[in-house]
């Protein structure tokens, strides 16, 4: 268990975090440029998690939301720092357990990441905005469940589920495709178990 969380805070892993936050942002930017119906704003967090492990992944997620919350003054983002933290940790654990090695396994990681996001976001949604999420499709669903008399918790859970899981699936597909193409020169920098060999 200790091994899964093993993290060295070297300069290489530290500079990974701002880069991943930038990737998060550009993912969102390109998604809106191409008018894609998803956010795709956690690609960087997932890359950080896969390369640096759960601690770095969680940090990428949390710092991402804290910085945007603090700069844009949008405390809605700030509250979801917890969710991003959860996604980073969940994906990081899965990656360290080898669940990014093949496409089907990566999909499982996506489901775990998505579920983590849903489980953390739902109570926040209920606590702060009575169950809504601000996403049109999800909130339409929430309105229907409430009209039909379903409990707030269940409705909010579904609201978040239809939004988060497809987004995380696509995110992890992209992350999987990108990581497959990473040169060894880079991946070796984040290898926590690397040792220096002697040649003489």
């Amino acid at each position: 268990m200790a091994k899964i969380f093993k993290t060295k805070l070297t300069a290489a892993t530290i500079v990974l975090i701002p880069a991943c936050i930038g990737i998060n942002y550009l993912g969102k930017l390109f998604a809106s440029l191409l008018k894609l119906p998803l956010w795709l704003d956690s690609i960087g967090t997932c890359i950080g998690a896969c390369l640096g492990g759960p601690i770095i992944g969680g940090l990428c997620g949390a710092v991402n939301n804290i910085v945007f919350g603090l700069t844009t003054g949008d405390n809605i983002t700030l509250i979801y720092a917890l969710t991003s933290l959860g996604i980073g940790i969940a994906v990081g654990i899965m990656a360290r357990c080898g669940f990014m090695k093949s496409f089907p396994k990566a999909m499982l990681t996506a489901v775990v990441g998505g579920t983590a996001a849903v489980c953390i976001s739902t109570p926040l949604n209920i606590m702060f905005w009575g169950g809504t999420t601000g996403n049109v499709w999800g909130d339409a669903l929430f309105a229907i469940t409430q009209a039909k008399g379903m409990s707030v918790g269940m409705g909010s859970f579904l609201d978040e589920l239809v939004v988060d899981v497809p987004d995380k699936l696509l995110t992890l597909i992209i992350v999987y495709l990108i990581l497959k193409g990473l040169p060894q020169k880079l991946t070796s920098l984040y290898d926590v178990n690397a040792e220096i060999e002697r040649l003489d």
Partner: protein, 257 residues
């Protein structure tokens, strides 16, 4: 360079206040109405934040922040007013839709809470330099590594944002279609995001080297170029804020509120 931070130094007293004092204000502003449990308390604190924003000459900058949350607040009113489980007493009807008193009250509470949070945050965000906050935290023992992470985001992000147009142009030059059906657009995502990821990861290697050769990560305590000038007001305001929170708790426990 375009900064991503909303902070501007307007030379007002709010700029001079210690970042911690302003953080304490956020805590007080959010907790007092929640502890007190009365709707009018939200009103008092929202008014207080507005006065502060005006005295810091940043009231105008706060408008887009509030506008941003408007959709969320409207959705909350619709859903709660129409479908809240406690709804019993009809308040008014618009066409076939009937809004109920209980739901609307609940929505009011949520909406006011959002507004209160937003505005108290705005007081902090619009008047505090992020680097100043991080520096102060580091001086108080916060890890310089985490400090670096936060500071560097503010500098590196705008640089990465500028690559967006170059990458789009470079790929379009090679015949990439970025418009058309959803399938075409989905397919264009990888050629656009991949170069960002690859080049920023390749760059991190050099930046990590640059940090190491400048002694980043040494165990010894860092030295600083400046001390922050002390401001008398910090202590006074801090004490008042803490007193107000204590008073609210007392009020709630003793039943004044």
């Amino acid at each position: 360079m375009k900064s991503i931070s909303l902070y501007k130094d307007k030379g007002t007293w709010l700029n001079l206040m210690h970042p911690y004092t302003k953080l304490l204000y956020i805590v007080a502003a959010i907790s007092i109405p929640l502890i007190g449990g009365k709707l009018w308390l939200f009103g008092v604190l929202i008014a207080a934040s507005l006065v502060l924003l005006a005295s810091g000459k940043v009231l105008r900058s706060a408008v887009p922040l509030v506008a941003f949350s408007a959709t969320l607040i409207i959705v909350i009113f619709l859903i709660q007013g129409l479908f809240n489980h406690a709804n019993a007493e009809a308040l008014f009807s618009v066409g076939p839709l009937t809004f109920y008193k209980e739901g609307v009250l609940f929505a009011c509470r949520l909406g006011l809470n959002i507004l209160n949070m937003l505005l108290s945050f705005a007081v902090f965000v619009l008047t505090t330099s992020p680097q100043e906050l991080v520096d102060e935290m580091e001086k108080n023992g916060f890890s310089p590594k985490f400090g670096y992470i936060i500071n560097s985001v503010f500098q590196i992000l705008p640089q990465m944002m500028m690559t967006k147009d170059t990458i789009t142009d470079a790929q379009r030059s090679r015949g990439l279609e970025t418009e058309g059906s959803l399938g075409v657009r989905m397919k264009a995502f990888i050629p656009l995001i991949s170069p960002v990821v690859m080049s920023s990861l390749v760059n991190t290697r050099e930046r990590a080297i640059a940090l190491e050769v400048r002694g980043f990560g040494r165990k010894n305590k860092k030295t600083w170029l400046e001390d922050r000038p002390k401001h008398k007001g910090d202590r006074v305001i801090g004490v008042i804020l803490v007193l107000l929170v204590v008073l609210t708790i007392a009020g709630r426990v003793l039943g004044w509120l």
